[in-house]
């Protein structure tokens, strides 16, 4: 087991967690506006999957994408400044929490109409194939997306044209505030990939190593064969759909049961069992993550607002 890798995954997940806790605090203080969708509890999916891809592989994600952005770019300052709506943000304050972009690092959003980005991800993969480049596209979305027509059209075209895209369904059990069993006729989203046709695998999305390994297989397969692949990661959203949602539709028992699978705790225990680091050393990593989140908040708060005279810029190229 690669000790450095495990510690790095732990550090990355801790950063996602502490970043979002800091964002939630700033939101409750009225410093961040609009919608804020937290990923807390699901960190292993984004961190594990993105760690398995090459930095040149494309990432296309949803409005719950802070962790994906951090896993790809590591830039907590740009992310937090964007949540604050500042000129130094990832999207210059024009996008906000739901629309993080980094073209240079091939982080292609940040899309906030459920399902709409699935065909876009297929299109990015189409471009790779058209240009005979070996890059793979990773497309993240939730279980709620699997009922949208755009999801099915995107998968249908990826299957038809054999596009090198890995669809990663983050099944956090809830489509906004409605549980999966009320919104879907099948318990596993992944079976829907069958008809396109697409190989699939269902993994424990709270185990960052399992997530990483499965993604690596899927990405390498997509790269080698130019075939799409469907991964379903079973996970759980510890918080509500957004900051506006107290998530009263879930029992304490249910939440408690899932929190025992907290991906950061799971990895922490494994690191200790393997003797890679002790509790104190892990706490130090966590403290670093807290410090990085605090630094990001400070950076955001000191950053300028977007200049009013730029409001009309970038509508057209």
């Amino acid at each position: 087991m690669d000790a450095g890798l495990l510690l790095d995954l732990y550090r990355q997940m801790a950063l996602c967690r502490r970043f979002e806790e800091a964002a939630a605090k700033a939101y409750s203080q009225g410093k961040i506006h609009g919608f804020l969708h937290l990923y807390i509890g699901q960190e292993a999916v984004a961190v594990g999957a993105i760690s398995a891809a090459e930095p040149t592989d494309y990432i296309v994600a949803t409005y719950r994408e802070h962790a994906h952005y951090l896993a790809r770019t590591g830039d907590a300052r740009a992310a937090m400044a964007e949540l604050y709506g500042r000129a130094t943000g990832a999207s210059g304050g024009r996008g906000g929490s739901m629309h993080l972009f980094d073209a240079g690092k091939r982080f292609l959003g940040g899309w906030a109409i459920v399902g709409g980005h699935v065909p876009i991800a297929a299109g990015v993969a189409f471009a790779s194939k058209y240009r005979e480049e070996k890059d793979v596209t990773l497309c993240f979305f939730g279980d709620g997306t699997a009922n949208m027509g755009s999801f099915h059209e995107g998968l249908a075209l990826a299957g038809l044209w054999k596009l090198p895209v890995v669809f990663i369904c983050e099944n956090n059990q809830y489509a906004m505030g409605t549980p999966l069993y009320r919104t879907m006729s099948v318990p596993d989203v992944a079976v829907r990939a069958r008809g396109y046709p697409m190989e699939f695998e269902i993994v424990n999305g709270d185990d960052v190593l399992e997530m990483r390994d499965a993604t690596r297989r899927a990405v390498e397969r997509a790269r080698r064969t130019s075939q799409p692949f469907f991964l379903e990661a079973k996970t759980y959203r510890f918080r509500g759909h957004s900051m506006a949602d107290p998530a009263k539709y879930r029992s304490k028992d249910e939440v408690q049961k899932w929190m025992e699978r907290d991906p950061i705790q799971v990895l922490g225990k494994r690191i200790q069992t393997l003797g890679i680091a002790n509790a104190e050393q892990l706490r130090a990593l966590d403290d670093e993550a807290k410090a990085q989140a605090a630094d990001a908040v400070e950076f955001a708060e000191q950053s300028p607002l977007p200049a009013p005279e730029t409001v009309m810029e970038h509508v057209y190229a």
Binding site: G95, P119, S128, G149, E153, Y316
Partner: protein, 342 residues
Amino acid sequence: MPEPRVITFREALREAMVEEMERDSSIFLMGEEVGHYQGAYKVSEGMLARFEEKRVIDTPIAETGFAGVGIGAAMVGLRPIIEFMTWNFSLTAYDQLVNNAAKLRYMSNGQFKLPIVFRGPGGAAHALAAQHSQALESLYAHVPGLKVVMPATPADAKGLLKASIRDDNPVVFIESEVMYALKGEVPAGEHVVPLGVADVKRPGRDVTLVTWAKMVHTSLKAAEELARDGIEAEVLDLRTIRPLDGDAIVDSVRRTGRCLVVQEGWPFAGVASEVIALVVREAFDQLDAPPERVTSFDVPMPYATNLEALVLPSPDRVVTAVRQLLGLEEAPARPAVAGGAR
């Protein structure tokens, strides 16, 4: 100087695509029946043989899917031409055009260009009924981030399509089924008509007919008839709805003192309203009559051909509206608006 030749509107569009695709390998054509079927309206006839399946790509009936694929491909540097068999079908992909294509550049703070053309026929053809007869340019022109282009002649079809393909923004390019066979002189080779520049299709001193696409021909017919009575109508073809050539509109109306907008689509919150708002603001002092518009009736398109003819703007309706603007006939009561608005 390139040699003018007479070709059809359809051939002019094809020529633009073929020439651009030969120039730039990042351009491809994708849509329903564009390849093996040779195009539902034969616009892409022969292109598959020329460019093979890699660049002339047949799709399933999945507008959201292939519009989105085009957007994704454009995000990372390709230059797709996405054909909608008709613009009516684009409504199933409206999310892709309005939420994604139009917004990407702005919400990413200018990190991406989106060089993509969505094209196909729009508006009424003949007895296609309510779901296949819609002139939707007002819907798309409403959205910042999109450009909306509507040629009226074969030469403009070629030149504007070439400009649209070379543009780094998403372009809504609306053609017309009933104009595909229209013939006209078109320069061979390089012929690019810049977006955002209107064109006087017939000069006149008494009234400005502001119009575009198929209605240019309706307006030209009306202008001929008016000329028999000594009324000289100027026909200003917008060619591009967005960006709108406001200067050309205002300059013309200031000269003629009268403005009639001739629009195929519905009246409510349409392009004509926008043109009239501009005219009122910037040519108010030169107006000899309130600006007026001739549009479709405020109704879904009926199938029966007699009703369809009634609903669509005709040269007769344009002639009558001009005579009313000139005070030669009494102005009518406010046209009926569906839904009981008063």
